[in-house]
């Protein structure tokens, strides 16, 4: 039963019941943007089918059509060989499709049981529905390693468990086809492994799984078949066993891509940044940083790995000058004020600290402002006092856009009209070109296309080779491994350990990320 549905599918005989899902000629446009162009897709029953593509390639649109969120302009959907209309989510559920969204759709203050039952109750009274769900959940837990306490409240459990609840929701609705959208983004490597075991178990029970991701490693590890999307089109469907990451990357981007970052060994010099015993307590009284200490030297990249929300954001905010802390921070020997009274982002810049924030759309740019205005932010004093020299600002921006290959290179466009990768290049250009001594950079390639990732990584390495100190925070372990000269892993506001990339692997870092101290080893 492993005949691959490969190649550009010529219309197969109508109603092939061996196919869980078949899409024929699906097209969808949003105004002038053609999100899906004449998509054909055949997913064989009982397989794990990967869909890979860059941001904006149309993966999510396609899945939204399958789940009844959007209506396709043209084309037909066949479920189990039968042509099926999916006007809304209820119709998708009825057709046996379950969706696990990237951002979970759970009610935070409800219990697991209530979330599972919501929308699939048996009658007007809750009690019998909840009792039935409790029984079924126990069965599912045994069958698929999907243990969750049914009475736990969602906001009290971790993201890994929350994701399990999403899967249970779909199974409770008797889904035969499970679509997962970027499921590992929030998971530790161990949690991701567990998820993959669950998915394989589901497949072996005859369920069909569609996995949407941009991570090549996951595709190679778990899928049976993979389809590649580029610019709204389905460019290829291949058997996973017969392809390679390099080939898939090329299919995604449309040209050869360097997956590895080429860099010479670091030649660290003087200490630029000294951080000692940093503590942060946030407005809710939660202790976010619990005594963080490290050094960064000129000419090296310190990578901070960790699952999102373990204090990395606070660390960047403190160093960037918009969060108060206790402890000591020295830049090139100068004490930095951490109380927030005599120091802010502006004075940090004067000290030679540049900051590319984690959330570029909220902290890095003003989305409604034009590129040239955004490029001047933080450095606006360079362009005059009360009256600014707009012409000079535009010229400055145009130059940066050219050097950083921002497309389209038009300084008068609003920040929001650029793609994620080009927005990031705008922020990078602004921060890097001031020749800082220390660059703080958070999630440099989040939501950025593979092609742009390559460019951004090269910029970071080039900056290091110019003798700058770089603090890199990323939740992408691959990125941390590729760029860092030293890796520190954060968990629960502490640094769990420091490793050299050449002497560690994803497994060991994963354990540290999950809070298991590996100092003895």
């Amino acid at each position: 039963m492993t005949v691959a549905s490969s190649g550009p599918s010529h219309t197969p005989p109508p109603g092939d019941p061996g196919l869980a899902i078949e899409l024929r000629g699906i097209s969808k446009a949003f105004g002038p943007v053609q999100a899906n162009k004449d998509i054909d897709l055949a997913v064989r029953r009982g397989t794990i089918h990967g869909i890979i593509g860059e941001n904006g390639a149309g993966k999510s649109t396609l899945m939204s059509i399958l789940y009844g969120f959007y209506k396709a302009d043209r084309g037909t959907v066949l479920i189990g060989g039968r042509e099926t209309e999916i006007p809304d989510s209820q119709a998708a559920i009825d057709a046996g499709i379950g969706m696990v969204f990237q951002h979970f759709k759970l009610v935070e203050n409800f219990t697991v049981l209530e979330n599972v039952v919501l929308g699939a109750e048996d009658g007007a009274m809750l009690k019998p529905s909840l009792a039935k769900a409790r029984r079924l959940l126990t069965e599912l837990a045994h069958e698929y390693e999907l243990d969750v306490d049914p009475d736990a409240v969602i906001e009290d459990i971790g993201v890994g468990l929350q994701q399990r609840v999403e899967i249970l929701k779909a199974l409770y609705r008797e889904a035969d086809i499970l679509i997962l959208d970027e499921p590992t983004g929030v998971l530790t490597p161990a949690e991701a492994d567990h998820l993959f075991r669950i998915l394989k178990g589901l497949r072996d029970q005859g369920k069909t799984i569609i996995l949407i991701t941009h991570k090549l490693r996951e595709i190679m590890e778990i899928t049976d078949t993979v389809s590649v999307m580029r610019r709204g089109e389905m460019t290829a469907t291949v058997k996973t066993a017969e392809t390679s990451p390099e080939e898939l990357a090329e299919l995604m981007v449309g040209r050869k891509v360097l997956l590895r970052v080429d860099k010479a060994p670091a030649r660290p010099k003087d200490v630029i940044l000294e951080v000692r015993d940093l503590h942060v307590t946030d407005a809710q009284g939660v202790h976010r940083l619990k005594g963080v200490s490290f050094d960064i030297r000129a000419g090296e990249v310190l990578g901070i790995a960790g699952v999102a929300g373990n204090g990395q954001s606070e660390l960047l905010e403190v160093l960037g000058g918009y969060e108060k802390a206790t402890g000591r921070v020295r830049v090139k020997g100068h004490e930095i004020d951490l109380t927030g009274s005599a120091s802010d982002a502006q004075t940090r810049r004067a000290r030679g600290i540049a900051h590319v924030p984690e959330d570029r759309q909220r902290e890095g740019l003003i989305m409604d402002y034009r590129a040239w205005e955004n490029v001047a932010f933080g450095y606006q004093k360079d362009f005059g006092g009360t009256l600014m020299d707009h012409a000079a600002m535009k010229r400055d921006c145009a130059g940066k856009m050219e050097r950083f290959d921002v497309r389209p290179p038009d300084p008068t466009l609003a920040a929001k009209s650029f793609s994620g990768g080009n927005q990031q290049k705008i922020v990078l250009a602004r921060e890097i070109e001031r020749n800082p001594d220390l660059l703080l950079i958070g999630q440099p390639t989040r939501g950025v296309d593979i092609g742009a990732i390559e460019f951004i990584h090269q910029q970071i390495v080039a900056l290091r080779d110019q003798g700058k100190a770089i603090l890199l925070v990323s939740v992408e372990l691959d990125e941390i491994m590729a760029l860092s000269d030293r890796i520190a892993v954060m968990f629960d506001g502490r640094i769990m350990g420091e490793r050299l990339p050449s002497e560690t692997d994803q497994g060991e870092l994963g354990l540290l990320m999950a809070g298991m101290a590996g100092e003895a080893a």
């Binding site: 999510s60 649109t61 939204s64 789940y67 969120f69 809304d88 989510s89 209820q90 998708a92 559920i93 969706m99 969204f101 759709k105 759970l106 009610v107 935070e108 203050n109 409800f110 209530e114 979330n115 039952v117 919501l118 929308g119 699939a120 109750e121 009658g123 007007a124 009274m125 809750l126 009690k127 529905s129 929701k169």
Partner: protein, 321 residues
Amino acid sequence: MDLTTIIQILDSSLRLATPLLLACLAGLFSERAGIFDIGLEGKMLAAAFFSAGAAFATGNAWIGLLAGIGASMVLAAIHGVASITFRGNQLISGVAINFLAAGITVVIGEAWFGLGGRTPALAGDARFGNIDLPFARALSDVPVLGPIYADLISGHSILVYLALATVPVTWWVLFRTRFGLRLRAVGENPAAVDTAGVSVVGLRYAAVMICGLLCGIAGAHLATALGAGFVKDMSAGRGFIALAALIFAKWRPWYALGACLLFGLLEALGNRYQNIDIGGFDVPTQFMQALPYILTVVILAGFVGRAIPPRAGGEPYVKER
């Protein structure tokens, strides 16, 4: 202070708490579904006017009640269309409804009755009379419990009992039925409801209309049970006090009962003790009457602990991926 006085004050508290309680539960349904409603005041006022008008015209308090509910639900529907269908700002829509009700009641009242915006006084069947519960007279001679039963528990209008019954009913609907589960879910995370295949818009309209229904009863109580006819601005900020009570009650039905009784008690005390002498210091009348409003300000300023409103409250739901 003797037992009779205490009973009289509590009796008055209960009557005064009734419109607050109904409005508070009305707001509870709406806000639990994620629709903030500062138009409780306006809906109550419109209901008070139309119930009094209809009751006067027909001589029947029940027809008045229906008219009041109808008026309130029309305003609720306007709020629904503005904030659910057109995804407008819920606060602005609520404010508009308050202004609309304040103006329209007086204008129509003057046109119909020519009494400067009030309705003629209601009498007889045009008002909800007080109901004597069974054996109230017979038991009134039993010490302590007798007067409590006869004078405090018995002898209210049907709407008071209706309001009290609404508390357990609301609790039951919210926490024991499918509708309640979905209603609470849509106020917390409408996307979860939507992806579960349930209509967010339908649920929110249902909640808003229930809110209109309860506000209608509250308004009718003001004009045809508590009072005897409509007077300009007779809701006197009760819609806002009900909102404060709702926050105080942390959006829970039984707590809402407690909060509204407290406000009712303060109002009753203010009415009874026009001036009170504490150790030679004469507390002015104005202060006593301002008590419920002062408590409102204190509650809204957040002095009673952290109240977490429904998370999706005030946000129009836009489907997104």
